[in-house]
Symmetry: C2
Subunit: 305 residues, 2 copies
């Protein structure tokens, strides 16, 4: 099993800086690659009558965070991608007292550093699933430079798919892609992270899952930073390859007004999950994050008829 075995001592200060830079650089590159792939899909949709008008392109907007750091939102409002937001951010500061209690390692030091990529796509065509992907690297305190009690660092993230209607083919392709990805990096990763995803993306008040799941992992710090980072990179690459494949395969499928109505109602459930339960949304709003970037995940239109 990769990622375990080599137990490193506490990282040196410049080593932690190198890790932060490396991770942040990766998230930015992944953002660029995903935006390119999505813009290509958006252009290719012009081959079908249902997608009218010019192809959308990503608009980029930089924001600074008062307490430290900032990010870039990329948003495309297109014909195939009705609304897709891809955010990267690298922020640092101190957790509020209230929030510290919920973060491992933050009881000793309120300082944090976090970098990540977060993406939600809502599609015009109700037969094309909505999708979410997020990966992040988080350092609390000094990351453990001074020993166990001085902080922690970890990776987290995942990806999950939300078809509007039952879509066994999409589900099995998505799951299979992440199974292959996980199996390359850690024994039991797939089973554990798939279950975590199913448990997490569930609306208890509806008694229904948000979508068909995928994978969800958090607090990944196996002792081998390079291995954990490689896994996190592979989650991003897997998403980059599988989602466009699933979306493209459904691009030509026509839809009815009833399909569109069902899609808007399903999107209402998405809103409920994100505002009632999503940890990223809470984390963002509680740490004074950029509201526009955090709520970019909201669907362009939703219904509660």
């Amino acid at each position: 099993m990769l990622g375990l075995g080599k137990k490193l001592g506490p990282p040196q200060e410049n080593e932690m800086e190198r890790r932060k830079e490396t991770a942040a650089f990766w998230f930015r590159n992944l953002r660029d690659d995903i935006c390119d792939a999505f813009e290509k899909l958006e252009r290719d949709a012009g081959g079908y009558d249902m997608y009218t008008g010019e192809p959308g392109t990503f608009e980029r907007k930089h924001w600074d965070r008062e307490q430290g750091g900032g990010g870039e939102m990329s948003i495309m409002r297109g014909r195939f991608f009705e609304k897709v937001g891809v955010n990267i951010s690298t922020v640092h500061g101190e957790f509020s007292d209230k929030f510290r209690k919920e973060i491992p390692g933050a009881d000793k030091s309120p300082a944090f550093w976090a970098s990540g990529i977060s993406l939600v796509a809502h599609m015009s065509n109700p037969h094309v699933p909505a999708v979410h992907m997020n990966t992040r690297f988080i350092v609390v305190g000094d990351g453990g430079l001074e020993g166990e009690d001085s902080g922690r660092f970890w990776f987290g993230g995942g990806a999950d798919l939300t078809p509007m209607f039952e879509d066994k083919d999409a589900a099995s392709r998505f799951h299979e892609a992440f199974r292959i990805c996980c199996d390359k990096h850690g024994e039991g990763y797939y089973e554990k992270y798939k279950k975590w995803c199913d448990d997490y993306f569930f609306l208890p008040h509806r008694g229904e899952p948000r979508g068909i799941g995928g994978i969800f992992y958090d607090y990944l710090s196996s002792g081998d930073w390079e291995a954990d980072f490689a896994y996190t990179q592979d989650v991003g690459r897997t998403f980059h390859d599988i989602y466009p494949e699933i979306a493209r395969a459904r691009m030509d499928k026509p839809w009815t007004d009833e399909d569109r109505e069902a899609q808007k109602i399903k999107r209402g459930r998405y809103v409920e999950f994100n505002l009632l339960f999503d940890r990223g949304t809470k984390f963002g709003l509680m740490t004074g994050g950029n509201t526009e970037a955090i709520l970019m995940s909201m669907p362009p239109e939703a219904k509660w008829p």
Copy 2:
């Protein structure tokens, strides 16, 4: 000042039962009166070209709560009232351990009884404000029959208005009506409950209020149950009179597609408030309430473009 002065001893058991019945009966009657007034508005809208089709009528749906009690949802999907839900419920049971900590008096006993009415109206015409009204009577433990430590009881509620655009006339009429109502019942009630409303219906992540406010009160237990109940009744009556007046005065105002778009975006903020911050929503979902009834407050359509 009414409502203070006569300090009653702890109520007798049958006295508390009488209060519960009296309050629940009032909430039901108020529901009937409001539904009648709203159906009349819905019929009268037929005099204007913008409101097409047959007038809506309320559909009523009873629900039972597994732990004890139940309620009735009344929902109308009409031409003037795009979607309006009026719920009454009378429930009892025990608070979950997690929730007990947040409820005064529940540390000694987890038992609760609660009855109330809750209403949210989303209007077709963007020039007619959305509105919310809720009043409730809550008894924790035995309501204090065995002394201070054995429980508490109180009234809570309020009403607030959400115009889609600046509407000084609507704001001043709404505020004035509740000022008159409050001034009849307690010195300082209006100032205190108006401020509480402004503080409560605020979206910190947007730095904006949900609407123009109104009044919000909670934990009202002055020592004179009859006075507190009379105030709660008057809040209901005031709402019953003022909202239809404001709505009717705007019924003939035509709107554009741009107005409607702005309305849907404003409704998105309403969704954000209700799912991120609203205590009634949280209370309902955390006490195993009826999801359909609780989320009846969601607007029929909302946008995050």
